[in-house]
Structure formats: C-alpha cells, structure tokens
Amino acid sequence: MADRDGDSHLLERIADGDDDALRELYRRYGRLAFTLAYRITRREDRAEEAVQEAFVRVWRNAGRFDPSRASFATWFSRVVRNLCIDMLRRKDPLERAGALSKIEDWIAYSEPIEPVIVNRLDVRDAFLRLPAEQSRVLEMAYYQGFTHREIAEALAIPEGTVKSRMRLGLQRMRRHLGDGRSS
C-alpha cells in the first residue's frame, strides 16, 4: 500500500529529472491534491497555486521521499494541506523554506503507518455519519487549520470538549473504515 503501482519508481525517475514521470504523477494525484486544496482555500487560483507548488517540491525533493514511512499519497496530501493552511493563516505564501522539514517533523514520531482503507465512498460515508459536533471539530482542525484552542474559542466550548470530540470522531471513523462498511 505504501507504493501504489510504482509510485516509488516514478519518484526515482523524477529525481533523475524525467518530467514525463512528473506528468504521470500529476495524472495520478493532481485531482486529489486539487480537491483537498480547493476545500481548504475555497479559491480556485489559490488551490492551483498550492498544487503547483506541491508538485514542484516533489520535483525538487523526490529523492528524499521515504516510502517506508508513508505512502506517497499520504505524504503528498500532507504537503498540500500544509501549504494551504499556511495560506489560510495569512502567512506569506512565499515564506516556504523549511516547510518540507516541518512536514517531516510532523510524522517524525509516528510509527510506519498502515493506511486505512482509502475507498473514497467509504471514507466519505464514514465522515458524513459522524455526529455533527464531531465532524465540525475535525473539519475546523483539518480543513480550516484551527488549533484546538482556537476551535474551543470559536465554538465557545471547553478545550477538553474539543479534544474529546476530536478523539471520538477519529475513533468512530477508524472503526467505520476498519470494518469497511458502515457501523
């Protein structure tokens, strides 16, 4: 699962400067990246800017990708999300140096991850079945880049409630996805 149909091979070719391989990678993941970026930024131009930037980073850093830590799709989604969240937080989108290492920090202390089933319909179903208060905090954290404190403040609820809703929401999704069927 960590290497969907030769993503690692594509990345090796990209590291060697093969732009056909970059094109192929875009065809595999461009839409996923744009979907995520558009959901976060809510603007087509910003979303495309983030996707473009993410692929250029892949172009420049393909040799640094470690497939034993996470699948390319996972790693790449994190790159896209972080770029978009940076934009959302009104950080200068050009202050990008070091963002790649930030992403590495982010997963530095996770064990090699066995991805959950990524059947789009299952994931969507799992998310839509969450109680509204749980999906709301997940959405604010993941798609809007709020910290748990900011969420507590915005929703006028205790921080502990935010944390427990995050936990319950993720656990419920995991159970749902683990079964591969709705619970």
């Binding site: 732009d19 744009f34 979303a47 050009l94 997963i107 880049g145 748990h148 995991r174 996805l177």
Partner: protein, 228 residues
C-alpha cells in the same frame, strides 16, 4: 507534560491542530513513549484518509502544463550553455532597483491595441532601470495580463535565475515563473491568473537556484513594475 495530558493531545497532534510549543513538547515525550506512538499511528492513519472524504473537484486543464513548465524552468539553467563570466554589472545595477519601483518603472515606451469582435489584445512597454534598453512588454487580453516579454536582461549570476512574481491587491505575492533570458537578453513569460485574482503589478528578482521557494532574495532587491 504528563502522559495523561499528552494522550489527550494526540488527536489534535494527528490533525495538525497543536500550537508549535505543544507540538514540540509532545514530540519529545513521544520519543520515549512507544504506546503513545502506537496510538498516534492509528489516529494519523485515520486523519490521512480525510482528503478522500471530499467530493472530487477538477483543476483547470492548464494546471498540468504549468507544473511541467515550472519544473523544466528549474532544470534548464543547468543544461543551458553558460554565457561569459557572471556579469558584475548585475550586482551594480540591482541595488538601484528598489528605489525605482512602481512609479519610476511606469515610463511607457509604447501602447497599441486592436479589437477583434469583443476581444481586445493590447500591449505596453515599461522601462526597467537596469540597462539602457531593458524593458518589459506586458500583453493584455480582455484587459488582463497574459504575458510579459523582456528585453535587455543581463544574464543572471552563476547558480541564479530570474523569478517573476505577481503582486496582488491584497499585498500577497506569488511566483509566476522562473527563467533565464536568452543570450541576447530576451525572455518571454506566460501569465495565468485566477478568475478573480487582482494583480496590481509584477516583481522581477534574481534568486539562488537552490532556494527558489523562499521569499524574494534580499541580495538582489526586486524590480517592480505596474500591471498598467
């Protein structure tokens, strides 16, 4: 931070919703806490599925081409036969450019326009305060810039390239493209703007090849020129 507190924070960590100080503190704790890492791995795996929870959207057809063009632009300078030695003059003229930004750059050398049906293509020259004949020619389609043609550009110093930025009305900036002019000083850059993107000007900088993503280099102050 004790482990109970840390455990409460794991979901927020997985979602990227911790403040920097908390994140660092938690990471330190996780280094010696295998159970915490195992729990976190499960949470992260679920978070990593969230992009798939979205209704799929399609990017514009031109995005793939822009990505490939930009990737190639970053590669080309290494393949390009180098001109003579790095021009010291570049170092000399660039410090003057900061002062000569928008207003000074607006010296118009020529304007023309023609109309075809409802479409209007127009172009306009802007002097660049670099060499005597350096200038940028902006082409507009339907009053929006679609390309910039440069002339009289000096070759950038070794291991550096020109970078064109678009300057937005909200004070943000974004890279348009990275390029090296032809040996005769000409270069052409296509501009693709978002539908509602308001651009007030362009900035031209010289950037180190190994750090193109950073903020504009302070070593060579930018030349800026207005969009109109």
């Amino acid at each position: 931070m004790d482990r109970e507190t840390a455990r409460d924070l794991l979901p927020a960590y997985a979602l990227g919703a911790l403040e920097d100080a908390e994140r660092r503190e938690l990471q330190e704790l996780l280094a010696d806490w295998p159970e915490g890492r195992a729990e976190l791995a499960g949470l992260i795996a679920t978070v990593d599925a969230l992009p798939y929870a979205l209704e799929e959207e399609r990017p514009s057809l031109g995005l793939e081409g822009r990505i490939i063009t930009r990737a190639r632009a970053q590669r080309e300078p290494w393949r390009r036969p180098r001109a003579a030695a790095p021009p010291r003059r570049v170092l000399r003229w660039l410090p003057h450019l900061m002062a000569a930004s928008f207003a000074a750059a607006a010296a118009v050398l020529g304007v023309f326009a023609f109309t075809g049906g409802d479409e209007v293509i127009a172009g306009r020259w802007f002097d660049l305060p670099t060499t005597d004949n350096a200038a940028a020619y902006i082409t507009y389609f339907d009053e929006r810039p679609i390309g910039v043609l440069f002339r009289g550009l000096e070759p950038p110093p070794e291991e550096r390239v020109y970078q064109l930025w678009r300057l937005r009305a909200d004070d943000s900036r974004a890279i348009v493209d990275t390029f090296v002019p032809r040996p005769d000083g000409w270069a052409a850059v296509a501009i693709v703007l978002g539908e509602d993107e308001a651009v007030v000007g362009f900035g031209l900088t010289i950037e180190p090849l190994d750090d193109l993503d950073a903020a504009p280099s302070t070593e060579f102050p930018p030349i800026t020129f207005p969009v109109r």
